[in-house]
Symmetry: C2
Subunit: 287 residues, 2 copies
């Protein structure tokens, strides 16, 4: 069947597969200095944010991405006071982090101020954390910004887009080295590391580079399913020199759990690091 362009938004991934959503209304369409930003209302996915033609946020499924970027590390670490988020202008990760009362300060470094404005206007509940008094917003290049710090943060979250356009610098080894230097010894960093299904090469190369910088036993990928992202199966990689998210005891994870989450739980924490055989093989090939 054919999809009428005036009713459907389609993201074609590498010109080979495509995911489409029927929309009821286009609310916003703007060209920033970095990318095209679009917002649609849809029945099946709720309101959706499209950056550079790619699904970035949907009201239906983004809770998976935001919770899984944030809470495995927040639960595994013993104490988190200072947080840096690079990218993530939609505010979804910020909103999850500020649910933890122990957090004293959070810097969000988003290169594109227009993403933040659009999300404050059109996704008030996902971006709600941006209004928290502990949050400072910086509009800068994430790779340049993080180069300023040493032994500073308890947690750094790299909430990047794909490694093309504005997201490209966030997939470089020199960036990973800056992240490592900016972390306190007891801290951790979490990177979104793409889909092991449809982006095998980017996934395995990114994890390999993180293992090279952080150590092979201390860069640990984990998975969650996000239907609106290409391949559905999405990876994150947890990096810490001192904290193992796998060895964390269930009752210590439980103690640090915040209320009213929709995806993450102690059980999910323990399950998400169990990698399917083909994912383990992708990592073995890249060793």
């Amino acid at each position: 069947m054919s999809l009428n362009q005036s009713e459907w938004f389609t993201e074609a991934f590498q010109g080979k597969t495509a995911f489409s959503v029927r929309y009821s209304r286009k609310l916003y369409d703007s060209l920033s200095d970095f990318q095209r930003i679009e917002v649609f209302d849809t029945e099946p996915m709720g309101r959706i944010l499209i950056l550079g033609g790619c699904f970035m946020v949907t009201e239906k499924d983004s809770f998976v991405y935001h919770e899984m970027l944030v809470h495995p590390a927040m639960s595994a670490l013993k104490e988190v006071r200072k947080v840096l988020i690079i990218g993530g202008g939609d505010g979804g990760a910020v909103t999850e982090v500020v649910k933890h009362p122990e957090v004293e300060s959070l810097v969000l470094c988003e290169i594109d101020p227009l993403v933040i404005h659009a999300c404050k206007d059109y996704f008030p509940s996902i971006s709600a954390g941006l209004n928290d008094p502990r949050v400072t917003i910086v509009n800068d290049d994430g790779a340049a910004f993080v180069a300023n710090f040493n032994n500073e943060f308890d947690l750094i979250l790299v909430d990047s887009t794909d490694p093309v356009g504005p997201g490209q610098a966030l997939f470089e080894i020199s960036f990973y080295e800056s992240i490592k230097r900016s972390l306190r010894h007891s801290g951790a960093a979490v990177f979104q590391t793409e889909s092991p299904f449809f982006m095998e090469d980017v996934f395995s190369e990114t994890v390999m580079n993180l293992k090279r910088v952080f150590g092979s036993q201390t860069a640990l990928p984990y998975l969650a399913t996000i239907p609106s992202y290409p391949g559905g199966l999405w990876s994150f990689t947890f990096c810490s020199e001192t904290c193992s998210p796998i060895l964390a005891a269930p009752d210590s994870l439980q103690k640090r759990l915040v209320q009213n989450l929709k995806y993450y739980s102690v059980d999910v924490h323990r399950g998400c690091f169990a990698l399917p055989v083909f994912v383990q093989q992708l990592l073995k090939n890249s060793d």
Copy 2:
């Protein structure tokens, strides 16, 4: 962007979301007594089988579905000699079951002989198990066929299509009761139970009905990600009066594991029963 129909196959799910794959060649298009059967060659997903306009098998991702339908139960049960598969005419589940040498007989009850013919012709490696001498193929209505048995099978796998058209009878309570009666006391049944993301109602109603028939502690949903199926996150439900797949010891699972799988492992077994919070809530609402 728009997708040219002569180059893309599109499955539109409930007219709201769509997944499309660019194809290089259409190999087969036939109308059986039950449904339209199409086969395409594609670059991103390999060869694909479409039944009634829906993705059923792809060379890229069907290993997830077939392994996860079969191996959690094969590993959790102590002994599996007699197996019945209802649906599954593509032969993928059969091919996984016959990897276990202890299996003495397997009956495949597929209503549509043309699906079997197409898969033998176009998916020789996925359907290879259909040629195993232990396998008997019956072309019958699964619900009618299973009503003939009592205390017969160690394992029954319900590899149905969606609950419309030929698959509808496989979502009725009377069918679940027949399945239960056909199982040996030490046996188990596994049902594909749709996506908790895009088919919340079918998922929760099906699992609720299975709990009603098999008992609330003995019908246990588990998850895997299959990118070509709507919602990506797919559920199966394990039902047994005597065997708990969750309490199975890792070394006993390991002992029963067959070689050369691409998705399932002992770790995956332990992780797949960890349900995200929203999935648990869907089940709670349906209690």
